[in-house]
């Protein structure tokens, strides 16, 4: 369906704004349902461009961190004196998960339109052309950026680094060395 880009921007901003403001799971669930309904209503195809597995992983990390450091809620799992799992932690993790999904789904309203449409919309909404143009140029480089990052990651692994096996701390070091050439080359 052909919807004006301004409408898309507005809807997207509305949903992501609500996802950031509300913290209660019940509200987030309702927002998510409305978000999906609107997408269906507008006949926007949902592209899966994120991995649910990674998202779940992040949420579980947040649950553990929240459970360990925020001393509210009832402990469900304990190791010595350290709480590994609290009911509050689970709620917090689930909320993060929902928020991410809502944010990504709101992005779909804009993603399905092309970039020049988007910048034209932004200009119509009163954004100075120079800034809209910069956004357009930036967006142009995002796919290039990921492609080049993948290439350099491959190259690092082919030279003997097994990214799946090395420690997390070293992974960060490797990622730093990936970002620098990509940024330089762009």
């Amino acid at each position: 369906m052909n919807i004006d880009i301004r409408t898309r921007l507005l809807i997207s901003a509305l949903f992501s704004g609500m996802a950031l403001i509300y913290q209660k799971i019940e509200y987030l669930l309702i927002i998510l349902i409305f978000n999906i309904l609107t997408l269906v209503l507008f006949k926007i195809r949902i592209k899966i461009l994120f991995s649910i597995k990674k998202l779940l992983y992040i949420s579980i990390m947040m649950i553990v961190i929240q459970s360990m450091f925020v001393r509210t809620g009832h402990p469900l799992l304990k190791m010595g004196s350290i709480c590994l799992l609290t009911d509050n932690g689970i709620i917090y993790g689930a909320a993060i998960f929902l928020r991410f999904i809502i944010l990504i789904l709101s992005g779909m309203f804009i993603l399905n339109s092309n970039i020049s449409q988007l910048t034209r919309g932004l200009v119509k909404l009163g954004m100075p052309f120079e800034i809209a143009f910069m956004i357009q140029m930036g967006a142009r480089f995002v796919p290039v950026f990921f492609e080049e990052m993948g290439e350099i990651l491959n190259s690092i692994q082919l030279r003997g680094v097994d990214l799946r096996k090395i420690y997390k701390r070293k992974v960060i070091k490797v990622y730093v060395s990936i970002f620098s050439p990509v940024i330089y080359s762009v």
């Binding site: 491959n154 190259s155 692994q157 082919l158 050439p181």
Partner: protein, 221 residues
């Protein structure tokens, strides 16, 4: 018994209608030196990426030393096959030319002295020892190519796959590269050279594969 085997391999990029590599069956023996030629867009680079396990074929099978390529991790493939991309900029990630060459050697667990010796050998061979402290991104395309080649050759792969290695380098270094490749070949290391530069590959291969529209049109021994 073959080193790299492709059995009716096809690969189509996402969103494309025609396959980039179409039903290709090839086998490369260990230590064989092969030139792959063909027009732009004939699927040579895609074929190389398939052989390196960087792309997975939608149809067909690829084996490396008689084991399916998808069973290997990238570091394991890297130990067997050295690959130099068409665009060397995307293979450089270190903070100095020296570190670039030393990177793989250090991960291999080589001793410091040994690393220094090997780095010196390759960098001085290509006359870029003076550039050892430079940031690799700031070099010219040709110099980058030399750095990448040094970094890959230093790891002593069993077979070297070069995608258009002479695209950016000057005549003098081309000659040196050719001499080095002859030397490598004499040591029994396999060579797969993708190129348009017939002059350069002349005398470097014993088998020529001609590709067009993703297919192997001729395979001359």
């Amino acid at each position: 018994m073959c080193f790299i085997c492709l059995d009716s391999v096809s690969f189509t990029y996402e969103g494309k209608k025609t396959p980039a590599v179409n039903d290709v069956s090839l086998s490369f023996a260990a230590g064989e030196s092969v030139a792959i030629v063909g027009l732009n867009g004939s699927g040579k680079s895609t074929l190389a990426r398939l052989m390196m396990g960087l792309l997975r074929p939608q149809k067909g099978k690829i084996t490396l030393s008689d084991r399916p390529i998808e069973e290997y991790s990238l570091p394991e493939i890297g130990r067997k096959l050295g690959f130099v991309l068409q665009n060397p900029s995307l293979m450089l990630f270190s903070t100095s030319v020296y570190n670039e060459v030393a990177f793989g050697l250090k991960w291999k667990g080589k001793k410091r002295q040994e690393v220094e010796q090997i780095c010196y050998n390759y960098l001085s061979y290509f006359d870029i020892w003076d550039l050892r402290d430079e940031l690799p991104f700031n070099l010219s395309q040709g110099q980058k190519q030399m750095v990448v080649l040094s970094a890959i050759l230093a790891l002593e792969p069993e077979c070297l796959i070069l995608d258009e290695p002479t695209k950016n380098i000057d005549g003098y270094r081309k000659k040196k590269l050719k001499k080095l490749l002859l030397d490598i070949r004499a040591r029994g290391i396999g060579l797969v050279i993708i190129t348009h530069d017939y002059d350069f590959v002349d005398g470097l291969y014993t088998r020529k594969i001609y590709m067009a529209d993703g297919k192997v049109m001729a395979d001359e021994h």
